[in-house]
Amino acid sequence: MSIFEAKHLSLHYLTRFGSKVHAAVDISFELEEGEILGIAGESGCGKTTLVSGLSGMCIPPLNYTSGEIFVSGQPLIGRPLEDIRENVLAKEISMIPQGAYNALNPTRKIKDLAMDVLKSHEKGKANKKEMYQRIHNRFELLGLDTDKVLNSYSVQLTPGEKQRSVIGISTLLNPKMVIADEPTSALDVTTQKQVIGVIFDLLEKKVFSTMIFITHELPLLRHVADRIAVMYAGEIVEMGTSEQLVFSPKHPYTQALMSAMLSAEEGARKRKPEAIEGAPPNLAEEIVGCRFAPRCKHATDGCKKNKQEIRIVDNRQVRCENAK
């Protein structure tokens, strides 16, 4: 059985003018226990919006439009926020938001931030000393100078120490699934590798088993993710194994994304990365036909008019009627 499932999920922001921005549209996927799903896509395509919805943290102006979410088989949409905060977040699903490590409360020590998580979920159950011991044991897995980090304020730590602390704190209650939104995009390559190493260690030690990982770094995603979903203008346009998407993408947007990668290797300076002119469609307006068609090299009269549905091409999902 899948531990997480989204079925035709759509989300919208209600703007100050009463219009709706449809930032995630018709998203369906299942996650098996132990799987890492990577999400990539144009900036502003709806990745952060989608994962807010997936974690149950759908707070106005963000709203569920339609669709369903199942966490370990239980429906998530419709449950009161209080219930989700208490029983889903940190226990079932843990979220590491975009830029989280820069948003750590600067007035409290790391150990106190970690204590807060335990206290809020286990009122009166354990004593303080025992809780601290648990935090200490968990932080030992993060490859940090445990005592120093726990007794520091966030401003005294390096970005790598902060991000590993965030990971430590958000997995304290052994959630089944972790959702990480660009957890390494502000880190240098060495720190990034350390952070990924820590994530893999926690997976191996079964602290958590399943993950959704958002990044713009495709080479990174290839090493981290089992499957990759590529989003464009609110929709998943292609989803398959990371090998499939990186080495033989089928959707024209995925193809463009892959060929725009830059690398430091012989001859790379002469290859001009492929730029796509124009802008994605306005998500507040009704969109006719394929969302990528106006910028697509291979667009036909058909796909400019027809809404694109998911098809199976070469064993992966593609939202393009012309993909072969």
């Binding site: 900036s43 995009s185 502000a186 240098d188 390559v189 713009h216 080479p219 430091a264 990365p273 994605p280």
Partner: protein, 264 residues
């Protein structure tokens, strides 16, 4: 007298912060020259001092010891300095005021200039700049910063530069949050601007693929010093410093093994 083509010259640049227990030497005697029209990229691990260098180049900070020259003179008046030298800041979330629309903030950024273009020209330049970062001006109309995604905010910082067209750009991690296609488009436009204005650009990045692609020269920093500098081929393909070698090894590469997940 420095050579007339040299736009920035640093001589034994030292920056210290704090005192007593918190005393911290962040820049440990930097020497470098950046030439007019050159693209220089500074790469290096976190907290090695890259952003502190950027703040000196922008006149936000003064060195504790040593000297920094801009066109042969020390930077004394910041407002004068900003007529020609403009930044893209590292954190797009905090670079905009949440209470004003983005459009108005982009137009207001011209207020830093003594000689401002006409209102109509400002509007035109902002429109063109938005298109260059793949945003339809009409889609942005009344949007506020909190209504954009991280990468869209970062693109607004880039649009600000594309509208202002400064002589010198100091870009601190300017494309870290955008996808590869948008980045390609931005680089395209930046190269056009660079040609048109003979712009000098200092990129600060941990994206070595980007550094390799755009730079005339790369500086590698480690712990407050420049440990290696040279052309992209010299630095990225034939590195000499162990710090550079380590940095290159840590880049995830789609073709090479990078890190293995041990399955339980």
């Amino acid at each position: 007298m420095p050579n007339k083509n040299v736009i920035f010259e640093a001589k034994d640049l030292v920056k210290e912060f704090g005192h007593g227990k918190t005393h911290n030497v962040v820049l440990k005697g930097l020497n470098f020259e950046i030439e007019d029209g050159e693209i220089v990229t500074i790469v290096g691990g976190s907290a090695c001092g890259k952003s502190v260098v950027a703040k000196h180049l922008l006149g936000f900070m003064q060195p504790t010891k040593g000297e920094l020259f801009y066109k042969g003179k020390k930077i004394t008046n910041q407002r004068d300095h900003w007529q020609t030298v403009q930044p893209i800041f590292q954190d797009p979330f905090s670079a905009f005021n949440q209470f004003f629309s983005i459009r108005s903030q982009l137009e207001d950024s011209f207020k830093v200039l003594y000689k401002r273009p006409s209102r109509a020209e400002i509007k035109e330049r902002v429109d063109a700049a938005l298109l260059a970062v793949n945003v339809m001006p009409s889609d942005l109309k009344e949007k506020f910063p909190f209504e954009l995604s991280g990468g869209q905010m970062q693109r607004m910082l880039l649009a600000r530069i594309f509208a202002l067209k400064p002589q010198v750009l100091i870009a601190d991690e300017a494309t870290s949050m955008v996808d590869a296609c948008v980045r390609a488009n931005i680089l395209d436009y930046l190269m056009k601007l660079k040609k048109e204005l003979n712009m000098t650009i200092v990129f600060i990045t941990h994206d070595i693929g980007l550094a390799y692609y755009v730079s005339d020269r790369i500086f590698v920093m480690h712990d407050g010093g420049i440990v290696e500098h040279g052309t992209p081929d010299e630095v990225a393909l034939h590195p000499k410093s162990n710090h550079t070698i380590q940095l290159l090894e840590d880049i995830p590469d789609i073709h090479k093994d990078w890190i293995k997940r041990k399955r339980a």
